[in-house]
């Protein structure tokens, strides 16, 4: 299993009585591509933060790629996230004032895999794969188009060869044409590298590209209670 949540409960320390997540049992198989949809405020970001180890569950078991995140300390979870999980957001995927190469290199900084010579070749290869012109590699990414930024964001997410890719509404800020290109590139990439994809969006038009579609309201019982 790529993801296994069991009796997971989460509430922010400031409001311990107000549970944000309450998941009895939810899992995602290895290399599965899952589309999760749900309204804003349904605990979507909290779920993704739990799966990436940014937050720790108040109780329950959170297993990602066979590792119990709930048993790890903060530093171990940071390291695990850097090494095994790729992340793409709706926007602000990159640090705007540094170039594409630096953004990707930064992601590698926190992972174990750290050979400078190979890294440089890998970055160049990834940027070329995603059709980023060489003249744009060193430009501050804030000066590039949204479409280019999203493609660089996937390249950054892929640099550490993650086994799990989390995409949080990555197409929301793209137009129809860019969205289709982005989705095609993303699906081809995860298939090619056998990556488990957890794609969260409210755009149901994208659901048809996935083998499995889950509603967050069915996963998170806390939402029902509220």
């Amino acid at each position: 299993m790529a993801i296994q949540l069991k009796d997971v409960h989460f509430a922010y320390p400031e409001t311990p009585d107000n549970g944000v997540l309450d998941i009895k049992n939810w899992s995602v198989s290895d290399q599965e591509q899952v589309f999760v949809h749900g309204p804003s405020g349904g605990g979507k970001s909290t779920l993704l933060n739990l799966l990436s180890g940014m937050l720790n569950a108040s109780s329950g078991e959170v297993t990602v790629l066979g590792e119990r995140l709930d048993k790890m300390n903060a530093r171990q979870r940071d390291r695990f996230r850097a090494n095994h999980i790729g992340y793409v957001f709706q926007q602000f995927n990159l640090i705007p004032y540094i170039g594409a190469v630096d953004n990707i290199q930064l992601a590698r900084q926190f992972a174990k895999k750290n050979t400078q010579a190979a890294l440089s070749d890998e970055i160049k290869s990834l940027l070329s794969t995603f059709n980023i012109a060489e003249s744009d590699w060193q430009k501050p990414v804030g000066k590039l188009s949204i479409g280019q930024q999203q493609r660089i964001a996937i390249a950054r997410a892929m640099i550490n060869k993650p086994e799990l890719l989390i995409a949080d509404e990555p197409t929301s800020s793209l137009d129809q044409n860019n969205r289709d290109n982005f989705m095609s590139e993303l699906m081809a990439l995860v298939a090619e590298h056998n990556i488990t994809l957890l794609f969260v969006s409210h755009d149901m038009a994208l659901a048809k590209r996935f083998s499995r579609v889950d509603a967050l309201s069915e996963i998170n019982l806390a939402e029902e209670k509220s």
Binding site: D78, A82, F89, Q105
Partner: protein, 413 residues
């Protein structure tokens, strides 16, 4: 990568960062300037005279006597009879004596009438004797020896003729133009008021004041017309004199004898004791200046801390992104600290460079107007310690925003 990220982040916020750097640079400039000028003044004053056991002048306060006799600051209260000088210098306990006559000037530089013994016995710094870069001590009545700065600034060289002026002003209408002096020697630089002095013989002083009433030349008189051999050039009055004793043990005894001298009221001071009195007086002022500069620096640190804290609010998404790609909370803490340190180092660089430039521009002014010889070696041990202290304080000031980020990262931000 870490440093590149921090520096590019600062460049991205160049407006507020630049203002913070300017505020810090100014306060570092003030702090270093106060410390440098303070220590250099002390060093300069302490090294101005050495090996002199007693300084004697007309009855006055010890500080006043020290200031006008050694540092050429202020004015003497009265003159001393030549006979008195001779009586005291003939005391068997006195090894050597240097008479000094002040009151004339040359283009703003003070003229000092003395004897050739001055070049033999006067020492400065760690008992370093005066030396000549060119020429020799004066031998003739109208010979003059210039301090290094006087020669440099006025462009004089050996053989040049100069005119002395009556009084101490930069511009004088009472010139001794009837008796020009010939430059026969130029002293090596000492970093003391000696560099700013024009040295002539006591006979020279006597000769140019021939037929002068106080302050003005008597009408119809022209001493230039009289041949030198006809002139009685024995000095009648001098301003002050320095004494070297045969034994240090005799210092207090000789001092007491001079202070109780019956024929005229005199003061004899120990230069070291008078200097320490001066530092005691200056101590309070020094501490006030230090306190003011420290307060200015603290306000700059608070500004830095506030700027960093505000920037964190603006950079929430960026910090979140760093967390997502695996940056530990401690990395974010260090990133904020590094950014603050880069601002601090840049400010130190600008503050130090600013001070260096200011000293280059003002050192001649300080030297000629106040007798302060301020060196350009800003990075003294004290100032290096201050810079280290600033770096340390920067880390403390940045700890508030850095800890805010650290805590927020731990909460899951």
């Amino acid at each position: 990568m870490f440093i590149r990220l921090a520096s590019k982040s600062l460049l991205n916020r160049k407006g507020s960062v630049l203002l913070t750097i300017m505020a810090m640079s100014v306060s570092i400039f003030v702090l270093l300037a106060v410390e440098h000028v303070r220590s250099q003044t002390k060093e300069s004053f302490n090294s101005t005279v050495s090996g002199v056991d007693l300084i004697v002048g007309a009855r006055t306060g010890s500080l006043n006597l020290l200031l006008y006799s050694v540092f050429r600051i202020g004015s003497p209260t009265n003159n001393i009879d030549w006979e008195t000088y001779q009586n005291i210098s003939n005391n068997p306990k006195v090894a050597w004596a240097i008479p000094i006559s002040l009151g004339d000037s040359h283009k703003g530089y003070r003229v000092m009438g003395t004897t050739a013994d001055y070049f033999k016995y006067f020492s400065y710094g760690s008992k370093r004797q005066l030396s000549f870069t060119r020429g020799k001590p004066f031998a003739e009545v109208f010979d003059v020896v210039l301090g290094s700065q006087v020669a440099k600034k006025l462009g004089h060289s050996l053989g040049d003729e100069i005119i002395l002026a009556h009084g101490l002003g930069k511009t004088s209408f009472s010139l001794h133009d009837n008796r020009p002096f010939k430059v026969v020697g130029i002293l090596a630089s000492t970093g003391t008021p000696v560099d700013q002095a024009v040295h002539v013989s006591l006979q020279g002083i006597e000769a140019i004041h021939r037929n002068w009433q106080p302050g003005v030349q008597m009408l119809g008189s022209s001493s230039a017309a009289e041949p030198l051999q006809n002139l009685e050039l024995k000095p009648k009055k001098i301003t002050t004199f320095m004494l070297g004793l045969t034994s240090r043990m005799a210092t207090f005894r000789v001092q007491r004898d001079i202070n109780n001298y019956r024929k005229e009221p005199l003061s004899a001071i120990l230069p070291g004791v008078a200097l320490s009195e001066l530092w005691q007086m200056m101590g309070l002022l020094e501490n006030i200046l230090r306190l003011i500069s420290a307060l200015i620096l603290i306000s700059a640190f608070l500004g830095l801390s506030a700027m960093m804290l505000t920037s964190i609010k603006e950079r929430e998404r960026e910090i979140q992104l760093l967390r997502v790609i695996g940056a530990p909370a401690f990395f974010l803490f260090l990133l904020i600290e590094l950014e603050a340190l880069l601002i601090s180092f840049m400010s130190m660089l600008l503050g130090t460079a600013g001070l260096y430039l200011s000293l280059i521009i003002t050192r001649d002014l300080l030297s000629s107007n106040f007798g302060l010889h301020i060196g350009l070696n800003i990075l003294s041990l004290n100032n290096s310690f201050l810079l280290l202290l600033i770096a340390g304080s920067t880390m403390i000031a940045a700890a508030i925003p850095a800890l805010t980020v650290y805590k927020s990262a731990h909460r899951g931000g």
